[in-house]
Point group: C2
């Protein structure tokens, strides 16, 4: 496998298709970078773009996209439901294969510095790349949004990590590093949504469960079954099998079976290999034993 | 993922390093083909080479290697413990990724025909590519070995699928297609090798178990534990989890735990994804959801 970094920037444009296309064209213009997905939300007036590639290529693609967004998006005119502070609102780098979190933090710093110097955009490092504890949380970085930050940026505690301590029409950008997020749902053999809610409460960090797990109990109306819908924000710390087994155990308390589970969207190979390793009690297994990893070495 | 075929030819030379190197050089000379492994056995006087790549490249590499082997190896002078009938003794094609068994059977036929026509080597199609039921089994194809086949080839039932009905000094070659073989061991929490032997008997095809499974019970002297050592010859028909769960269940009959398992060598990604799917009870999972498969599309 080549070294692979994923990048999921969010841009403050979800309505003008031609603007979104021009930003995406910048990402596609970097050789070796592959666009995996993009989606635009009209009411949020925001687009989420997912691409992947070798670290330097991904960093370059993120820079070009941010430069184009600064040219085409005027935050003075931007309206939308989703909190935002810049034309390019957030840029997270995500380690996928043969890359460490430290590598991604370095990418965030290098990109942040370049955006500050060449594009004159204030940049805040966030999540794993944060330089202050309170900036790990994106909500703190983005507090007041574009309009509020125009004034607040002058305060010492809101000083950006790179770029000017004042806002232009492209606003400010949060650049950071985080583990891959896995969207994972577990379906229960019951239509009692309260059981799903109780299980969700037991496993999620906000109510004392696994720190990196977010979860809600919902009812799937079309199938008339309850579901625990989960965001796994750090699968290396809390793997899929641990969450699955805990949900199974909690469900059994109510005499309810786990009837299935679903992975929504993409997942790193390693997260599934760990599941096989766990249940087969594998000894001494290495990812390099997977045939497909050998062809692109 | 690109379309990937594996090829594991066996050559009747395990002593003269320079001969083995020249054969391998032919494989390396094809662009896009990746040599994964090779090993030479002196007492067998035989080498096993593993390479992988796109179908046409793999076929070309196999042809070039067979041509070189025919130039450098004289079967009149070959002595070794392992049964053999040709300088290139066997060439199996193995579907790995986005390739069907039918594709590999076609590769076997095309290579066999070319070897017959251009190299004047008798070729027998075997395993999944066999044209007669008795030729599925390599032992039948190779009966009498090089020395015996020189006469036997003249019989109607030993007529090759391609090439002349007579043997030159390069002998004859079996070309075929088969599923990937997974070497898989399951370790037991006992030093009683008889329990491992009973479990092996229960799971292997030769004594009525899974048709495509071979198994033996052995004692690991260094760890003083019994092991069921397994060759899984068709993981799509009989997946890893089914063998693991059956061994666990049979071991429990003797009050013995499965303490671990091992994958020896390489394994297709799909075989491990199926394990994760089984235990997580995944619904609607597709291999394309694995991030790493997207980069090389």
């Amino acid at each position: 496998m080549p070294t692979l970094v994923e990048c999921v920037p969010n841009f403050s444009e979800g309505r003008r298709t031609e603007v979104i296309q021009q930003i995406i064209a910048q990402i596609r213009s970097v050789e070796g970078v592959k666009l995996l997905d993009y989606s635009a939300d009209e009411s949020h007036n925001r687009s989420v773009v997912t691409f992947i590639g070798e670290p330097e290529g991904v960093k370059e693609a993120a820079f070009r996209a941010a430069k184009k967004a600064a040219e085409l998006i005027n935050m003075e005119e931007h309206r939308g439901e989703h909190p935002r502070m810049g034309a390019t609102d957030v840029i997270p780098f995500i380690p996928i294969s043969d890359v460490t979190m430290e590598d991604c933090i370095r990418l965030a710093r290098e990109l942040g510095q370049r955006m500050g110097e060449e594009l004159n955009i204030p940049v805040y490092l966030y999540e794993e790349a944060a330089t202050r504890p309170e900036r790990k949380n994106l909500a703190n970085v983005r507090k007041g949004q574009y309009e509020g930050l125009k004034e607040a940026i002058k305060q010492h505690e809101r000083q950006p990590d790179y770029g000017p301590q004042e806002m232009g029409k492209a606003g400010a950008t949060a650049v950071g590093a985080r583990p891959p997020l896995i969207a994972y749902n577990i379906n229960l053999g019951t239509d009692d949504v309260n059981i799903a809610k109780k299980i969700a409460k037991a496993i999620r960090g906000s109510s004392g469960g696994f720190v990196s797990v977010k979860a809600l109990g919902v009812l799937l109306e079309d199938r008339n079954i309850a579901q625990v819908t989960i965001n796994m924000c750090n699968y290396k710390e809390v793997p899929l099998f641990r969450v699955f087994e805990l949900v199974k155990s909690e469900a059994a308390r109510y005499g309810v079976n786990v009837i299935g589970s679903e992975i929504v969207g993409l997942i790193p190979m390693e997260a599934l290999l760990e599941v096989a390793e766990f249940y087969l009690r594998l000894e001494g297994f290495r990812k390099e034993q997977v045939l497909e990893t050998r062809i692109t070495e």
